[in-house]
Subunit: 339 residues, 2 copies
Amino acid sequence: MSVTIKDVAAQANVAPSTVSRVISDSPLISDKTKRKVQKVMDEMGYHLNYNAQMLATQSTKTIGIIMKNSTPESMHNSFFPEVIRGISALCSKHDFSISLTTGESEEEIFTDTVKMVRGKRVDGMIVLYSKKDDKVVPYLIESGIPFVVIGKPLIESGKIMFVDNDNVQAAKEATEFLLNLGHEKIAFIGEDEQFEVSEARLNGFIQAVNGKNLDIREEFIKNIQFGLNHGKQIVTELLDLAEPPTALVVSDDLNALIVLTALSEKNIKVPDDMSMIVFNNSVISEVANPPLTTVDTQIYQLGYESANCLIELVKDPQMFRKSVIIPTVIVERNSCLPL
Amino acid sequence: MSVTIKDVAAQANVAPSTVSRVISDSPLISDKTKRKVQKVMDEMGYHLNYNAQMLATQSTKTIGIIMKNSTPESMHNSFFPEVIRGISALCSKHDFSISLTTGESEEEIFTDTVKMVRGKRVDGMIVLYSKKDDKVVPYLIESGIPFVVIGKPLIESGKIMFVDNDNVQAAKEATEFLLNLGHEKIAFIGEDEQFEVSEARLNGFIQAVNGKNLDIREEFIKNIQFGLNHGKQIVTELLDLAEPPTALVVSDDLNALIVLTALSEKNIKVPDDMSMIVFNNSVISEVANPPLTTVDTQIYQLGYESANCLIELVKDPQMFRKSVIIPTVIVERNSCLPL
DNA sequence: AGCATAAATGCAACCGGTTGCTTGAATTCA
DNA sequence: TGAATTCAAGCAACCGGTTGCATTTATGCT
């Protein structure tokens, strides 16, 4: 095969252990020897075999990423690429690798997780979601592997490290933004309610509305779960109401696009006839027509911090289970107008 | 640590090699012994250590994915998640893992690649792009590792396995689609021209226009390279022409959204005042306003097939270097009208 | 029954590193 | 100068599997 530590050792007239220590820049080795061995390594084109190192050190310098199920819809929103970008950035710094689950269904993803953990393929895991009736997080707890959740864990949240926005607060602020523009009939369009984030945002919405002593209207609370047509249907339902809303809080930017299209088909102009504030501040909200006022959840930071926490935890498994809240900011564009 | 093959062997009164063979379901082992060992494994909660297996077998069952640089722009288009989905699907079937490059810059990504390859972290690689002055592909060739490129390699394409659309043909068909609607003044809006795909699509566009004996107008050929404002500028330039185009071919769906917004700001209606055909058929084109007629490049299939080819190649490194062309189809929506 | 042959299991080396402990060399100090 | 101490390098076991070959056990055949 390729050149090993032993080949280098033989060539340089030292022991393999010495070569190993040169590689790790151990203080036990004199500079003279280091230079000598380094020279031989260069000449022979030596490169460390990570698998061997992993086996010997029992550490993989790899973090596993657990995705939510990989249906086209769940992948297509911009969350995934952006969070990966953040995680990558930190991993790159610490020379960690990233390994992805490959399963499509929840069941497959669970199996992938078990394989990663029990197969010792990763040092820690990042879970990209928090949802009801999830088997993965309980399994991770039981397994004892370091992990962090992006989103707020629904169980034992005190013992689990997580990185999240304050989604309740963020949704409250978004709603208040509309309220302060004079809107009183505001509808909330969420996404799949089994995810914690949806519920939190809905709660924030409700808090804001209650805060102004306005009634919560059941018919103003909707979830887009099944793509374009479902989105159109929901918009239709809202517009057909005796008192249709004058403003919308939309929890997801891709859904916002759907809503925008549906509104346009009904000849409702944003922001003139309808104000909208959305979440995530992906490029989509920037390039939409009109550009959308949005709550920037700083997805990149979410990824970056989660990797940061995880790597700390991997290095010191006893560490205090902290949680990090990434602040959100409203970035104003052209989708909101005073009533 | 955890339970090893030796622990199981001791408990079951067999040799470690026997346990190993039970795991791989070797025909050398009698059913009786298999059952006995299996039982002990279950009782003890044994799980294979992949690192050890990797080291012993010199195979990682992992494929590395080389991204183009991970700027927000390059990640945000829907190509990345969708191609990953396709790759994942196949990897999942064959029990392969996926490892991602983490670097942000081209330089870092090159380093990541070298680490993966020389560090024996992967059995093969998929390169998600084909571009000019790329160092990665030449390195992969030199290293001898199995790899496949998504896109058409610019060097030694006969010796490299690749999976691609026929982008020339696809762009030609897209343009002809507009020509057949009676449009004669058609502009082409591409993306970063250092990528092979952009050039191919431009060529297809030119072929189609030439095919109708129409002149190629230099001023009808544009590239959006720097996001929203650049996109708006380009649209302005096109509209300010003495003879502005009546139809557009836009090479990327996110850019299409930008164009759509820019047109709308100029009060140009799609499709009434301007027809548009775009590429990629991501959700974006589906939910845009209006829904966009698009060339479906079947990104998922691109990913799926590339993984398929790669795994074949890993299993038989001598195999013929085939290349796979994924057919494209035009899916008609509401962004084109006869002149 | 006796021997050839086939089937099942064990032995031990190997994959390519790491690391605690020991030994040998160099330096310090009295 | 010799003993004590420090510094550098080597030895060998280990990480947890795999696999070619040797050995034992079971089966077939005359």
